[in-house]
């Protein structure tokens, strides 16, 4: 006798059925009490809801990990850029430039190292030209 034959024999066996009394006993004893299933139960035990919650959590975490703006993710300025900015500030103070203008120039020096297009406004360009001619 091989395994298949054994399986077939077990499969063909007619197993006894539970008695009729058992059915009556179960239905009498295991009475389903009227329960109120609130919406929160339905939501909690719903697979779709659980999946969507997991997706939302992942999305929130991913959004937090993502940099808010390109500038926020940019690296810190190099020591050389810092030294340049400091020199610009000192020079601006020495020659009597307005503080706001000096600060803006220092800021530009700091951001110069980043790969971004630098644009000067027309008055700044005029001022820089003037300075160059004065030095010459």
């Amino acid at each position: 006798m091989n395994s298949k034959e054994t399986e077939r024999l077990i499969l063909q066996a007619r197993w006894p059925e539970p008695s009729e009394e058992l059915r009556a006993r179960v239905l009498a004893e295991a009475t389903a009490l009227p329960q109120s299933i609130v919406w929160s139960d339905r939501v909690w035990f719903s697979r779709a809801w659980r999946w969507s919650m997991a997706a939302i959590v992942i999305a929130v975490l991913a959004m937090r990990a993502w940099p808010v703006s390109p500038a926020a993710g940019a690296p810190d300025p190099s020591p050389r850029a810092l030294a340049d900015a400091r020199a610009i500030e000192e020079t601006g103070r020495d020659i009597g430039l307005p503080e706001a203008f000096t600060a803006s120039l220092a800021h530009r020096a700091l951001t110069r190292s980043r790969p971004r297009a630098m644009t000067f406004s027309a008055p700044t360009l005029q001022f820089l030209d003037l300075e160059e001619t004065r030095r010459d």
């Binding site: 395994s3 077990i10 059915r23 006993r25 009475t31 389903a32 329960q35 909690w44 035990f45």
Partner: protein
């Protein structure tokens, strides 16, 4: 060159697909307190649970008590029933754990052969064949007998059997293989004696 993968195949072709949709609806209705749902659930699953119980306890009375306990527990479960995805597995797992809990209290000293009767067109008298199968099953350890009944008679896959008896797929398949090998020998010996 053909490499035989037979020892690594964990299905014997007796697994049967089952439709859980209606059962899920019934469980949801039962959770809401509809008594008719229990009657329908009983009609759909009691026989299967009874066979499982019989494989574990080997006593008709104990098997019936187990089935009753399962349905009593089921009605007390409540909203959790809404989350059940595979009702048949859930019920059998409940029966298994109920048996494991009760086994410590029940003393099964007596071995009673009342498991099966063979139907259909048997060459030998049905009574003798039934005694053969019952004796062979009776010789098996409890966990092997359980996996034979769940896999062959109830059509659960080894994965499902493993899940509902709390072991791995490989353990379930291993137990099944051992059980069938042992039954084969026992049945062969019994046939040879006739």
């Amino acid at each position: 060159m053909t490499i035989s993968l037979r020892p690594f195949v964990f299905t014997s072709g007796v697994t049967r697909p089952r439709d859980d949709r209606r059962d899920r609806e019934l469980l949801a209705e039962l959770a809401s307190g509809r008594a008719e749902a229990l009657a329908e659930l009983y009609d759909r699953h009691a026989a299967s649970l009874f066979r499982h119980g019989l494989a574990l306890t080997r006593r008709r009375q104990d098997a019936e008590d187990l089935v009753q306990s399962v349905f009593v527990k089921l009605t007390a479960t409540g909203a959790e029933l809404l989350g059940v995805r595979q009702p048949a597995s859930y019920l059998h797992r409940m029966l298994h754990t109920t048996w494991m809990d009760a086994r410590r209290r029940i003393i099964t000293g007596e071995r009673v052969v009342e498991l099966v009767t063979v139907g259909g067109q048997s060459a030998r008298p049905a009574f003798e064949a039934s005694i053969d199968i019952a004796r062979a099953l009776d010789e098996l350890p409890e966990e092997q007998r359980e996996v034979v009944v769940l896999h062959i008679v109830e059509g659960f896959s080894f994965r499902e059997v493993g899940r509902l008896t709390g072991v791995s797929l490989f353990t379930a398949a291993g137990r099944y293989r051992l059980a069938i090998g042992r039954m084969r020998k026992l049945l062969g010996r019994q046939q040879g004696r006739v």
